[in-house]
Subunit: 492 residues, 2 copies
């Protein structure tokens, strides 16, 4: 055994007190097997001298070791490493004290169940970005949110929001949501029909975990939203994909599948299907509800984009005419405020909401109460409504300007349909222009744009891109389209 | 078909504009099958008169119906419900317009996979409560948190925290956590070894979902923490339960199980095992690591209570001596700040952290960025350290006073050991006193106390209770013990 005096190293600059450095250093050597059970420790006087620290510091360290049962103290004999500790063979570890690094790999095996991770185009710092269709955080009503947070610092604040709260979400937020959903889209839910979630993502996750078993069939559109498909597949489901045309998801294809096998769930984005931006027509909405009843499948209606429709009023959700409880209506405020503010909801019949709430409890217990109360206040005082009005006007203008720019500057190389709402345009490059090549050229000119992968489930078609325009202002849109034009010219 | 004029009802008090009430009312009747495809709608003049609204309002409603493709407009002939809509048999629905209530039950079937929900004793308004062991939200450093939120309202605020952020958690928070964990408990993790979660609950959930498959064996102590057992069982695991004595979990029982079958995971609470409050001894910590290596199982070390230890310094975690990557170290700030502020972490080898992060992404995409940045600042500027020092002093005093009160006023009817730390005392009623009966009597005197159920996995032993003392001040502790004394006297 090496002398402990030579092993321990003390760093008086650390915020860890010196006596704890001595304590933990000795514990580390005991645990590594360098200092064996039964070994005698140097006297406090000797160790203090060797480490150039006060003797009282060593005495405190030895007391701590004794309190934690690492050593046995025999008066007049000395201090010994506790004999009952297990023998450990010394491990080859670099001589840093304490050396307690996390291993780089687990000792045990586990299956890498989760292998795919869909990643949206991210905003790179200072670059122009056509993202996947996100709002402009520069017009996000953050000052309103901060105002609500401040309220909690004042006399209104009560500890009630700091203890464990309701798993289903703040009661005042659910009450406000019930009102908001009724007034904006005719969904007549009571607060107990609503579960507050962390964005649409968590709503889809919870529904998938509760509804799906291994081998269940889930219908979704292709091209579609991989972020949802991934969740269904993780829950063990088999995806059955159908096309989507200009009126939305193809219901003949849906019925063909239903005739062949039992379908458990259908996933649909009624407003501005991702990535193609089409709106599910009134007619298909009615037909889809009929199909759900005929073949007894559940529908996740992901209406994340309802609040941003420019051409007419948005079409009332399936959930507003769901007399038989087929529809699970999910949405969020991630587009209304900002993607980083994670508040969403699921509306469904109570027997399902109860199960979703129980699962949510085991997942993360509950949401952020301060944020939920802040959102409730913003809905109640009309701030959200006013912000939506203002934001819709801005995004509507940006859509018009962007589509004009695309037509006038890139018209001969691309085709697209003006979207009825939302934050993005679905565009096809013509003449065999490859999206990945355009993306590479554009990146060199400081424009981030999709490389066209990740839209189709089973295809490497790279002639389409989804161009999020909403987070760019007029000037930026013009710059971005100009760069895109140059990039396309270089590729041709 | 009934006349539409007689069906529609307009409420000018609603914040929904009148033209949308007309639009949505007609849509609701079409969807219900009350108004059939091909039916003619009344002229705008007639409908306006019948509803006592302006004719322009009806024209706007009809335009909206046309834009949403619910009607076909034939100039000089009239407006007809679109013929391509599917025929729907009228449904028997109360005559409210629009009547779009959520069904009370789903139309489809799903298995009630999640059946149990462990519920802690909740704080009832204005009552005295012995909860399960929670901090006092009245001393929670909320003003510090609000100060950090305010920072985001000032010039420092950048939209960067409002866009999608890193799924693994804020980079600055992970850097601060790495420092904090090293300085306070010798866990030498780098930021990439850390996943930020919503409290310990989410950390346990993610680990269970990634590691466990159906039929896997998980070891935990009984009595133990049902909130964890539930998660393991939901993931398909079989629980193998072992006793815990005054030194913590019984490792001989653990090894006996390991010899009989493959064990995948062991769950242990090293500081202040719930419910019994014992600390896992130094000796057993070393032995447990040896066992994990010998039998190749993973360990979840749930050190939720590390920061609150009164009798000595807390014992360094298993994770600080885990040279082979057996340990997944989980903890949170829910006890440091408040249960309602959901920030926790998991520390583990990188190959596991990568999988946990991917799963977390599908569950709820990411954490609350504003909260994560605020926590990072509080760790960085030392506020958390200072608060912990102050809070430890308060809770240490409350523990001492509470234990003295129990001994002096209830000593002949109960037995307990003074806990080394934490927020609760594990107490046994003597002489066959039944906890549920005491709880009923106490409730009548405005004291909430556990009824003794829910501690043991497979037993209805109701002679033990866990008494959370930390959220009561000295005066409240005295009142609460007095009521408990009276309740016990009534039961005897």
């Amino acid at each position: 055994m090496k002398a402990i005096e030579g092993l321990l190293k003390i760093d008086k600059e650390l915020s860890v007190s010196v006596y704890l450095q001595v304590t933990n250093g000795i514990i580390a050597y005991i645990r590594q097997g360098t200092i064996k059970p039964g070994a005698v420790l140097p006297s406090s006087r000797m160790l203090a001298k060797a480490l150039n620290i006060h003797r009282k510091t060593v005495v405190a360290a030895y007391d701590e070791l004794n309190a934690q049962s690492w050593v046995d103290v025999y008066p007049r004999k000395g201090i010994f490493v506790a004999k009952n500790l297990p023998e450990v063979s010394p491990r080859s570890i670099a001589g840093i004290v304490p050396r307690n690094g996390i291993a780089t790999k687990t000792f045990y095996q586990f299956s890498d169940k989760i292998t795919t991770t869909h990643v949206f185009v991210r905003d790179a710092a200072r670059n122009l970005v056509f993202n996947d269709g996100f709002p402009d955080t520069r017009i996000a009503p953050v000052e309103l949110l901060v105002r609500e947070y401040r309220r909690f610092g004042g006399y209104h604040f009560t500890p009630k929001y700091l203890m464990y709260g309701p798993e289903q979400g703040s009661e005042s937020l659910r009450a406000e949501l019930a009102r908001f959903l009724y007034e904006t889209r005719g969904v007549e839910a009571s607060p107990q029909d609503i579960l507050v979630t962390k964005g649409v993502q968590m709503a889809i996750y919870l529904v998938a975990q509760v509804l799906l078993s291994k081998g269940d069939t889930v219908i979704a559109a292709d091209p579609g939203y991989p972020g949802a498909n991934e969740v269904f597949e993780q829950a063990g489901a088999q995806m059955a994909l159908v096309p989507a045309d200009e009126y939305g998801i193809d219901l003949n294809a849906v019925e063909t599948i239903c005739k062949k096998k039992k379908v458990k769930l259908l996933y649909v984005i009624p407003h501005h299907h991702r990535p193609t931006t089409v709106t599910l027509s009134s007619e298909r909405r009615m037909q889809l509800l009929e199909l759900a009843m005929k073949y007894k499948f559940a529908i996740i209606e992901d209406d994340y984009d309802y609040d941003f429709h420019y051409s007419s009023s948005p079409i009332l959700p399936l959930a507003s005419a769901d007399y038989y409880g087929s529809v699970i209506y999910v949405g969020s405020f991630c587009k209304t405020i900002a993607p980083g503010i994670r508040i969403g909801f699921a509306v469904a019949p109570q027997n399902l909401i109860i199960q979703l709430t129980r699962l949510r409890r085991t997942v993360d217990r509950q949401g952020e109460q301060l944020l939920e109360e802040a959102m409730a206040n913003l809905l109640k005082n009309g701030d959200i409504g006013r912000h939506l009005k203002k934001a819709n006007k801005i995004y509507h203008e940006r859509r018009d300007v962007f589509c004009q720019l695309l037509t006038s500057r890139l018209g001969e190389h691309v085709s697209f349909k003006i979207p009825d709402g939302g934050f993005a345009v679905w565009m096809k490059y013509l003449h065999g222009i490859n999206a990945a090549e355009v993306a590479r050229k554009a990146a060199k000119m400081q424009l981030t744009v999709s490389n066209g992968s990740d839209y189709f489930y089973n295809s490497d078609n790279q002639s389409f891109v989804r161009l999020g325009f909403a987070s760019l202002n007029m000037k930026e849109l013009e710059q971005a389209v100009d760069i895109l034009k140059k990039a396309v010219a270089e590729v041709r």
